[in-house]
């Protein structure tokens, strides 16, 4: 068996600290952004957000312990797959129903069209990335 020389207890504590600071940075960035926008300091708001976000990324990628690993990636893949499926169903059901609803005399709000076009745009981006990954040099 391979010999372990570091203190696991210390490492676990450090990992938790890193995780805490990492998420706190992001949350503070978002809350700071909202407060600064509310106080009508839009440029400062952008700065606060990006500082928080960059701190989040720096801690995520730069911390010595593993804060995310293959299981996290597997969870993200599954979540993404389920999300795209749910969006597809919403797009299909709503999109197909619009002509019938309009024909029945109901005026579909612009907001619904905006959401549907957003979903279509998302599928276009998804398709482009899928093709790039499938047929690109770093094919999965």
């Amino acid at each position: 068996m391979t010999l372990i020389t570091t203190s696991a207890t210390d490492r676990r504590f450090t990992q938790r600290q890193y995780e805490l600071i990492m998420w706190a940075s992001l949350i503070i960035g978002i809350i700071g952004y909202l407060i600064a926008v509310y106080l009508e300091y839009p440029i400062a708001a952008l700065g606060i957000f990006w500082v928080g976000f960059i701190a989040f990324l720096a801690l995520w990628k730069g911390s010595p312990g593993a804060l995310s690993d293959e299981r996290d990636k597997a969870i993200e893949r599954r979540t993404g797959s389920i999300t795209i499926g749910v969006v597809a169903v919403i797009l299909l059901v709503t999109g197909l129903a619009i002509p019938a609803v309009t024909d029945a005399g109901y005026e579909v709000p612009d907001l619904v069209f905006g959401i549907l076009f957003g979903y279509v745009g998302m599928f276009v981006v998804w398709s482009v990335i899928y093709v790039a990954i499938r047929f690109g040099p770093s094919s999965a």
């Binding site: 391979t2 696991a8 490492r11 990992q15 299981r71």
Partner: protein, 80 residues
Amino acid sequence: MNNDLRERRNEAGLSQAALAEAVGVTRQTINAIERERYDPSLELAFELAAFFECSIEDIFDPKFSDQKDNHNKSETNHNR
């Protein structure tokens, strides 16, 4: 997937965090493998096998027996 990772880890006197650190994953992943809620990648399975100086099959049991039973049943039906 069935595995005896918890037994091996306990025999070695290691915490989940220590094993996780040794093979480069999070403690939660080791916990998920031990509870058979996550099947590790081939790379991680090799890492774990190398760490415990054994083969992957010594740690993980992919339930081949069930698959063989199903395969045998389908062959029997095919021959009929």
